[in-house]
Amino acid sequence: MLILGVLIPIVFGFVISLLITPEVRLSERLGLSYALGFGFLTLAMFFLNVIGIKFSLVNTTLLILAIIIVSLVYLKLRGRLRSSFISREAPLQKIKQNLASLSLFEKIILGLLVFFIFCNIAIALYWPVYWPDALTTYDFRAKLLAETKFIPDAASLPIAFSWIVFEYPPMTSLVHAWLYLWGWANPKIFYPLLLISLAILFYWSLRERSPRYHCFLFTLLLVTTGYIYTHATCAYANFPFAFYFGVGTIYFYRWMLTRKRGFLILGGILLGLASWVRGESELFFLGYLAILIFFSIRNRQFLAPFLFALPYFAIEPLWSAYRVHFLNFPPVSVLPGISGLLTLSQEFLNFSRWIKVTGFIWENVVVYFRLLFSLLILTTVLYAGEVRRHYFLLLILISDIVLFVVGSFVYSLLFPGKWEYVGGSSRRLFVICLPIIWYFIASITTKHGFSKTERVARS
C-alpha cells in the first residue's frame, strides 16, 4: 500500500508528460513524471478542496484516475499513444550494455552518484522530520491537512499563528499529507526521490550535446553541492523550490536551443510549480519573460511568451487568492505592488543602501559559494567563445543574479529591521541558482565529440 503513495503520482506524471512533450527518453520521462506527478497531484488535491470536496485517498485517487483515463483516450485519439517511448530492447539488457560501455572514470563517477543517492535515501528515510522550520510550518500543516483533508478546516483549527503556518504555498505540505494518508510514517521519501529526478533530468539535459563523462561529472557536482544534497534529506521547501525552478529554467533554455514546444510549456509549468512550493519566484519569472520576449522578437516566435506565461500564471496566483478568499487571511505578496514600488522607487537611488545590500549578499552568499563563483568567472573568461553560443543561458543566469540582488534590496526596504539577520534564508534562496550555474558551466565547458569508449560503444 505504501508504494502506491509514490507510484500513483508517478503514473499520473507520466501521462501528463506524454500530453506535454512526446520527445523525451524514457529515463528522462520518468524523472519528469515524478516531478510533474507530485506537482499535479497536489494541485488536484487543492482543486478538490476548492469545489468543497475533501481530498481523501478515495476522492483524490478517483480524480487522478479519471484524469489519467481521459488523457490516455485523448492521446490514443491523437495517435500519440505509441509504445515508442518504451525501448524495444529489454530494459535490463540495455542497462547491461550501457554499463559495459562505461569507461573507468565514468564508472567511478556513476558509482559515487549511486552511493551518495543511496546514502541520501537512507538518511532521509531513517530520520523523521526534525529541522525546525520543517516541523513548525510544512510538516505541522501537513499533519493538520491529513487530519482534516480540507484546507479551510485545517486553517480554522485553534492553532497559534495560523496565518504563518498557512502563509507559504502548500505543495510540500500536501505531498506530506498525501504520503501520511497512504500510511507513510516519514514523508521525507519525497525529497531524495526528487534528488534522483534532478540528477536524471540534469544529466539528460546536458547529454544532448555533451560527452557522457562530462554529464556524469557535472551531475555528480550538482548532486553533491552542499545545499542541494543536505536539503534533500530534510523537509525544507528550499530544495523542491530549487528543483522546480532550476529544472524549469533548464527546459526553458532547452526550448531556446531546440524549439521543441513541449520544453517551453514544461518550463512554464515547472516554474509555476516552483511558485506552488515557495512564493519568491515571481520576480525571477518576470526576468525570464523579458528575456523570452526579446528572444521571441529576434526569432519571430511570437506565441512563445504566451505558451510560457500561461501555465505559470495559471498556477502562481492560486494560493494567494485562496488564502484571501477561502481562508480569509490577509494577502501576502513578495512584491510590494505598484503603489508600494512607487513609494520605494525613491529609495532606489539610495546608494549607501545598495552597498549595504551587496555587502550582505557578498558575505552571506558569494563568500559561502566562493568556489562555485570562482569557477563560474574563470570558465566564463576561459570559454568566452563557447559562452557566445550560450548567450541566452548567460542572460538567464545574469537575470537571476541581478534580480536576486534587486529582490534583496526590495526586501531590505520592506523589512528594515529584519533583513540583515536572514543571511541563512538568503543563502537558501540562492540555491535556486545552483542548478542553473552548474548547467551553464557544464554547457560552456563541454568538449564536443565523444569519449573513446563511447565511440567504441556507438560503433
Binding site: 530520520w127 526534525y130 485553534p158 497559534a160 561529472l217 557535472f218 555528480l220 544534497y229 568556489l371 576561459l382
Partner: protein, 463 residues
C-alpha cells in the same frame, strides 16, 4: 581575414587542451573532490547514530535531535488533548521551550498560551502550566527555572526524579513507653499516598553496625507519600516522635504521626522538612500533645484519650517551588470536580488542596479555614502561609498578611516571589522604602523577576 588576436590552428588546439586540463581535469575534479568530502562528512554525522541504533524508535531519534523531546512527550502523556497550556516566553534559556510554533508541533492538539512576563491571554481557560528549567550555558543559575510565580497546583507531574533516603532511629516516646520502629521491619507504603512512583529499592541495610532503612524512589508526581508503621500509644503531654534521616535532596522528607481522636477522626501531624542534603539530621515532632489538643479545639472535637496510631515519614514532600524539579507540567486547580477524600483523615496536603479549591471558587472563608488547619498540622507549609497572606491581603488585613508572608520567607528565604509579595503589601501600606528593600531582594534572588523590575522602575520614576 585573420585578426591579430586569433591563434593559429595548432596554437588554438594547444590552448583548448591546456584549458581542458586546467578547468575540467584540474578545478572541476578538485571541486568534485571537495564536494564529495563534505558530503561524506555530512553522511557520517548521521550514519554513526544510524548504524549504532538501527532499530531506534521515532521517539529515540527525535530525542537525539531535540534535547527536550522526552520532556514534551512527557507533557503530552500527562495532559489531555483538550488542555490549554501556558508556557514561558521564548527568551533567554527558553528560546526553544518558549517557541510556540515548535511547542505546537510536539503538543498538538493541546493549545498554548504565552505566560508572564507579557500577560496571559485566556487566563480563565488555562488548564496547565509548563514547568521548564531552561536550556543553554548561562553561568548565572538564578536565571533558570520557570514559572517563578505562584501557581494554583492541583497536580504536578514532573520528569522522573530520584530520591534516596536512609532512615534510622524512628521512634515514639510517650509516657513510660518507648518504641524504636526501625528495628522491627520496614515501613509500609500502602497507607496514604498521592503520588506516582517507582520503588527502586526498599530494604534494610547495615552501615557501621547499624540497621538502616534504605529507600530509593523515583517520583513523577508527589503531593504526599506516607510510609508508616502502625503503633498503639496513648498520647501523653511528653510524647516525642523522632527520626534520623539522610536524604539526597533538601526539603524532600518529613516526619509524620497519626493521632486518632475519641470520635474516630484522625489528624496527621508533620515535622519540619529536612534542611540538608546527604547528611544525617534529626527530624522530630515535639509538643505533639498540645498541637493535637489545639487542633481538636479548632475542629470542635473531644481531645480526651487521644492515641498515636501510626508513625512514619512522608517521602513525597513536594519541593518548595515546582521549577526546582526542573521539568514538568502542572495541572491547575480550577475548581474542577474532585474525588471525595477520606473525610475521617485530616492532613496538610489535603487541606491545602481544599483551600486552593475554595479559593478559585471565591469562597475565601472556607479557603482560609482550610489553609489555617493545614498550617496547624504542618507548620512548615509555606504554601498554606503564602495563601493565607494572599487572602488577608485581599481582605485588606495587611498586618496578618505581613505575618504570613514573613513566615513563608522564614521557611524559604530563597524564593524571590515571597519577597516580592511582601514588598507589595508594604507598598500598598505606603511604606515605600521597606517595600523597595523587598523588591530589591526579590531581584537579587531572581534577576528575571520582571514584576519586581517594573515596580522598582515605577518607584524610582516617582522619585
Amino acid at each position: 581575414m585573420k585578426r591579430w588576436w586569433q591563434l593559429s590552428h595548432s596554437s588554438s588546439q594547444l590552448f583548448v587542451r591546456i584549458r581542458f586540463l586546467a578547468v575540467i581535469a584540474g578545478i572541476v575534479l578538485l571541486m568534485a573532490t571537495n564536494n564529495v568530502v563534505k558530503v561524506v562528512k555530512y553522511d557520517l554525522s548521521f550514519l554513526h547514530f544510524m548504524l549504532n541504533n538501527l532499530t531506534a524508535s521515532y521517539d529515540e531519534k527525535m530525542a537525539s535531535k531535540w534535547g527536550f523531546y522526552d520532556f514534551l512527550k512527557f507533557v503530552k502523556d500527562h495532559t489531555p488533548p483538550t488542555a490549554l497550556i501556558v508556557h514561558p516566553h521564548p527568551t533567554g534559556p527558553w528560546i526553544n521551550l518558549g517557541h510556540e510554533l515548535l511547542l505546537q508541533y510536539f503538543l498538538y492538539p493541546r493549545e498554548l498560551e504565552q505566560g508572564p512576563p507579557g500577560g496571559v491571554g485566556r487566563s480563565w481557560m488555562l488548564t496547565h502550566t509548563l514547568v521548564a528549567w531552561g536550556e543553554g550555558k548561562t553561568q548565572d543559575k538564578r536565571r533558570y527555572g520557570w514559572p517563578k510565580f505562584p501557581v494554583n497546583v492541583r497536580k504536578f507531574y514532573h520528569m522522573p526524579s530520584k530520591r534516596i533516603f536512609f532512615l534510622d532511629e524512628l521512634g515514639v516516646i510517650s509516657g513510660d513507653r518507648k518504641e524504636l520502629l526501625t528495628s522491627s521491619g520496614t515501613l509500609s507504603d500502602n497507607y496514604m499516598s498521592s503520588s506516582e512512583k517507582e520503588i527502586d529499592h526498599h530494604r534494610i541495610v547495615e552501615l557501621d553496625g547499624r540497621s538502616l532503612e534504605h529507600l530509593e524512589l523515583t517520583y513523577t508526581q508527589n503531593t504526599y507519600d506516607y510510609w508508616t508503621k502502625e503503633v498503639d500509644f496513648s498520647l501523653t503531654p511528653d510524647a516525642l516522635i523522632q527520626v534520623k534521616v539522610k536524604a539526597s535532596a533538601k526539603h524532600s522528607i518529613n516526619l509524620i504521626v497519626e493521632v486518632e481522636y475519641q470520635n474516630g477522626r484522625i489528624a496527621i501531624f508533620a515535622s519540619l522538612p529536612n534542611r540538608k542534603m546527604d547528611s544525617w539530621e534529626l527530624l522530630s515532632i515535639g509538643e505533639l500533645y498540645s498541637k493535637a489538643k489545639g487542633y481538636a479545639q479548632l475542629k470542635g472535637w473531644d481531645s480526651r484519650e487521644m492515641k498515636i496510631t501510626r508513625a512514619g515519614v512522608n517521602t513525597g514532600l513536594p519541593l518548595p517551588m515546582p521549577y526546582l524539579e526542573k521539568y514538568g507540567v502542572i495541572e491547575l486547580e480550577r475548581g474542577q470536580e474532585r474525588e471525595m477524600p477520606d473525610k475521617r483523615v485530616d492532613h496538610s496536603p489535603l487541606l491545602l488542596s481544599q483551600g486552593d479549591f475554595y479559593r478559585v471558587k471565591d469562597k475565601l472563608e472556607e479557603a482560609k479555614m482550610n489553609y489555617e488547619l493545614a498550617a496547624k498540622l504542618y507548620p512548615a507549609s509555606i504554601w498554606a502561609h503564602y495563601r493565607l497572606g494572599d487572602i488577608y491581603r485581599e481582605k485588606n488585613e495587611p498586618l496578618k498578611a505581613i505575618a504570613h508572608y514573613e513566615k513563608t520567607i522564614e521557611l524559604q528565604p530563597d524564593i524571590s516571589w515571597f519577597h516580592f509579595a511582601l514588598g507589595e503589601v508594604y507598598r500598598e501600606e505606603n511604606k515605600i522604602e521597606v517595600a523597595k528593600g523587598y523588591y530589591t531582594r526579590a531581584l537579587e534572588l531572581d534577576p528575571e523577576n520582571h514584576s519586581a523590575k517594573l515596580v522598582l522602575e515605577a518607584i524610582s520614576k516617582k522619585g
